[in-house]
């Protein structure tokens, strides 16, 4: 069970959090301008790396804020946590 450092509330048990998948996937500016392929990429396709992964979490049982994290999917170790309006930090995995 991971201990996840909420940027606001500090470290809390994973059970308090909701996972949101890959971070930095922006809603397209104009979906109607996209081809079916491009739209499908947005809707269904996500990175799935074995290694550091920028992903979203929400502290759903706490402050209900979404934030981003870089986590190594091989070890599940959290390498960095940052707010949604911050750029992805450099991490050493």
């Amino acid at each position: 069970m991971q201990l996840i450092p909420c940027p606001w509330c500090g470290p809390r048990e994973e059970a308090e959090f909701h996972y949101g998948g890959q971070a930095h996937v922006a809603y397209p500016q104009d979906p109607s301008a996209l081809s079916d392929e491009e739209w499908a990429q947005y809707v269904f396709f996500r990175e799935n790396p074995s290694g550091p992964f920028a992903e979203r979490w929400s502290h759903s049982a706490g402050c209900r804020r979404w934030f981003n994290a870089v986590r190594d999917t091989r070890t599940h170790d959290l390498l960095a946590v940052y707010r949604t309006d911050e750029p992805m930090p450099e991490v050493i995995s």
Binding site: E13, F44, F45, T75
Partner: protein, 409 residues
């Protein structure tokens, strides 16, 4: 004292396979030596006469999800596309022991899928009716019927989520996973397939839009065709040729108890309370948990998932209170957006994809092995895997089995 029932599992044969050095080139290289990879190689050789085949495994054969699943076999899926390939698989299971000449302990003890809410009941009846029209054995049983099939299920109306009934597939059951994998491996090897372990694929070589070779930890291996059967690692491999897949790899945990006298004659699954359990041949209770929410390649999940599952299991099976958890483990399941697999061609010539089975991979082993081999041999999908293209995510022709398979095995 005499030995208890189930203590005598059939012995494995005295010879299984050799451990050859990889050749410089193969007609087909299968990446991933799990159940699907081994079955694919077997059917390539047996049905299509393609024997210049290597199965590359980065660890030990069948050491991934094949060694980590709860061995449930059933075909009672909702949609025609799913029931097609899973029923094809079940039919192959029914002849597999003879086919492989290996005691795979396929035991058609039936599977109950419990319903706990009125909507569960509607969904269950819908699936039973669809199954029957698709020629799949299925029936709806009321709580008393559940009790008759599996006397230890608590059907009291006073529990938090009472059992309102269940779907029952009598032909469903379990098999012994190592025996299945080794059966395929031995038979494939006997037909000339090279099984190469400790051989990690580190790159895929293409030329003119066509696959030409795989780079491995044991050197470059030229290949006419390459078939990916890497389950949780599919995304990583596909990315080597720039192919993105709509997959997320998640931990999926399971557990086993110590050996117990027989109490549980069938397989019980409950999506609503996230429990599925059978009692394996030697007497151990085998249970699966829900998928951990996050992406992970670590082959370990979070323990609160197991604790929640235990609480749910004891509501259904109070008799399990003093059984003991002996061992827990996790696999890496590749989950697709519609909980259905992706099996077929790719934009790269000669590169074939078989992934996205999520929690359903074991039961599909013979079926997908057969269909995938056909796809590779003919460079064209078998009718049973034709619906499971990558393109369906673009067109929207999904095969959404979430209702039937969200946490199911």
């Amino acid at each position: 004292m005499s030995s208890p029932p189930g203590a005598h599992l059939p012995e494995h044969p005295d010879f299984l396979w050799e451990n050859p050095e990889p050749k410089a080139s193969y007609d087909v290289v299968v990446v991933g030596g799990g159940g699907h990879g081994l079955a694919t190689a077997y059917y390539l050789a047996k049905v299509h006469g393609i024997t210049n085949v290597a199965v590359l495994e980065k660890g030990w054969l069948a050491g991934g999800n094949m060694a980590r699943n709860t061995t449930i076999i059933r075909s009672n899926y909702l949609w025609d596309e799913s029931s097609g390939i899973y029923e094809h698989s079940l039919k192959l299971w029914e002849g597999l022991e003879e086919d492989l000449g290996y005691p795979i302990l396929f035991d058609q003890r039936g599977v109950l899928n419990l319903a706990h809410s009125l909507q569960d009941v509607r969904d269950s009846v819908r699936r039973v009716n669809a199954n029957r029209l698709n020629g799949i054995d299925a029936e709806w049983v009321d709580p008393a019927g559940v009790k008759e099939i599996c006397p230890i299920v608590n059907i009291s109306p006073d529990v938090r989520y009472p059992v309102l009934g269940a779907t029952y597939q009598p032909r469903a059951g379990i098999a012994k996973h190592d025996y299945v994998a080794w059966g395929y491996a031995r038979a494939a090897h006997a037909m000339g397939v090279d099984l190469i372990q400790n051989c990690e694929v580190t790159g895929l070589e293409t030329s003119g839009g066509r696959i030409t070779a795989v780079e491995t930890s044991r050197g470059r291996i030229a290949a006419g065709k390459v078939a990916l059967c890497a389950a949780g690692h599919s995304s990583v491999l596909a990315k080597m040729v720039g192919l993105r897949l709509p997959l997320a790899s998640h931990p999926l945990q399971a557990l086993v108890s110590e050996l117990l006298e027989p109490v549980h004659p069938t397989v019980v699954m409950s999506n609503a309370v996230h429990v599925y359990v059978s009692q394996a041949h030697k007497g151990e209770l085998v249970m699966g948990a829900g998928i951990d929410s996050y992406n992970g390649y670590g082959q370990r999940g979070s323990f609160h998932i197991i604790e929640q599952q235990m609480a749910a299991a004891l509501e259904l099976f109070p008799i399990f209170a003093r059984a003991h958890l002996l061992r827990t483990w996790a696999g890496i399941v590749d989950v697709s957006p519609d909980a259905s697999p992706i099996v077929g061609l790719t934009p790269v010539g000669g590169l074939y994809l078989n992934c996205g089975w999520g929690t359903g991979g074991f039961k599909a082993t013979p079926g997908v092995g057969d269909c995938f081999a056909h796809t590779i041999a003919h460079d064209k999908p078998h009718p049973f895997n034709e619906p499971f293209t990558l393109e369906r995510f673009t067109t929207g022709a999904l095969v959404d089995e979430h209702g039937a398979a969200a946490v199911a095995h």
